[in-house]
């Protein structure tokens, strides 16, 4: 797609967000709310790259356009960094110093046709164009884990772009189709009082972009009670990967 100037991930993803806006009427302030929530969570996280920089809705709305409708603060960072997860049997984990966290279920895959999706020719299934690849995966993940969206206490959503966070909230059943904008505007993803605190370390937007693994690490912190934005009595955490490509993946963590 390079001959037509589609050079970078924001340019590849922006048409999906544009279509989402067209179909459901999402407002810039809805995307801005995701950016602000991530930044405020990062401000409590001493490891967060953006931890010392406040962000207001005024800053967000006046930030420069990168690839419409994506503004600067709709796009995640690029960082060098590292993190790690140790996966072992529960029996072994119980002998270790740290409190074990369970992988209730993990799923990888997605709908057919997304290989020709946002990172390719934009010929993914037309009815899913502005929604991302994730609804079928979500259904399978919940079935495997034996839980439903209402059982989830906190989420770590792959926030390469704010618009993709709204699509994920819909695909994973936290609100109806096209309702994620009003859902976040109502304060649902805010820590500590929202019904579904999101990206409690600051996410890719404001903690660091360690390609999803830092979201999994934050999920573990939440369930150990060690987050800098700890959700009270967190028992189930959803961690998702970016849903604009193929395959996609997600995991449900629990204690």
């Amino acid at each position: 797609m390079v001959p037509f100037g589609m050079f970078s991930p924001p340019i590849m993803i922006a048409p999906l967000v544009q279509r989402y806006v067209h179909e459901f009427g999402a407002q810039p302030e809805h995307f801005g709310e995701v950016a602000l929530v991530c930044r405020e969570n990062a401000r409590r996280n001493p490891r967060a790259v953006m931890g010392d920089r406040a962000l207001t809705m005024h800053d967000y709305l006046n930030s420069r356009m990168i690839s419409e409708p994506l503004r600067l603060y709709d796009c995640c960072q690029e960082n060098d960094g590292a993190c790690a997860l140790i996966v072992t049997t529960l029996e072994r984990a119980r002998d270790l110093r740290q409190k074990p966290v369970l992988i209730l279920a993990a799923a990888q895959g997605g709908s057919a046709g997304w290989g020709d999706g946002a990172l390719g020719s934009h010929n993914m299934p037309i009815e899913e164009y502005g929604l991302g690849n994730g609804a079928s995966l979500a259904k399978e993940l919940y079935q495997r884990a034996g839980v439903s969206p209402k059982d989830v206490d906190v989420v770590q959503v792959y926030d390469h772009f704010t618009g993709c966070v709204l699509m994920t909230l819909e695909n994973f059943g936290f609100c109806g189709r096209g309702e994620a904008g009003p859902f976040v505007a109502d304060g649902n993803i805010r820590w500590p009082n929202g019904s579904l605190p999101l990206n409690t370390s600051g996410g890719h937007l404001s903690e660091a972009y360690i390609h999803g693994l830092n979201l999994a690490v934050e999920g573990v912190r939440q369930l150990r009670g060690e987050s800098s934005s700890q959700v009270d009595k967190a028992e189930v955490c959803l961690v998702t990967a970016g849903l604009t490509a193929s395959p996609v993946s997600a995991a449900l963590l629990g204690v």
């Binding site: 037509f4 050079f7 279509r19 690839s67 994506l70 934009h122």
Partner: protein, 140 residues
């Protein structure tokens, strides 16, 4: 003058889409259709993803497409576009060809005028590597 600069890399045909680009060099926009199950598909593939047939026919598209989505690019992520920002990248839908879509540009529509649903007509422009590429104008 072409919509993007001549330094913007041109198409690099591969085994799967060589025929598509060969038709483009004859100013023909053609999409693959499976003769067995009649499904259109794009980008080109050697096998029908629906019925697994290896048969291929190349159907000429109408000259009219619809802007399915688009973006206006403001940040120059590549040196060749520094002088052309803001420019649009549009997803052009061909409803009569099974909603096959092309990533392309609408060359005569400004940033504030672009909108989803706009009808556009096919034009051919020369890319930097002297290959013809399909672009679009607002339909009059």
């Amino acid at each position: 003058m072409a919509y993007l600069s001549k330094d913007t890399p041109g198409p690099t045909p591969n085994l799967a889409d060589q025929v598509f680009w060969d038709y483009c060099q004859q100013r023909e926009l053609r999409f693959q259709r499976c003769p067995a199950c009649r499904r259109f598909r794009h980008p080109p593939t050697p096998v029908c993803p629906s019925c697994r047939s290896f048969e291929i026919e190349w159907v000429q598209a109408t000259d009219i497409g619809v802007v399915f989505s688009f973006t206006i690019v403001h940040y120059a992520a590549h040196a060749s576009i520094k002088s052309v920002v803001p420019y649009n990248v549009a997803i052009i839908d061909f409803p009569e060809c099974g909603h096959a879509r092309l990533v392309s540009n609408v060359i005569d529509v400004g940033p504030t005028e672009m909108h989803i649903g706009m009808q556009v007509s096919l034009v051919w422009e020369m890319a930097g590597n002297d290959m013809l590429v399909p672009r679009f104008r607002k339909k009059i």
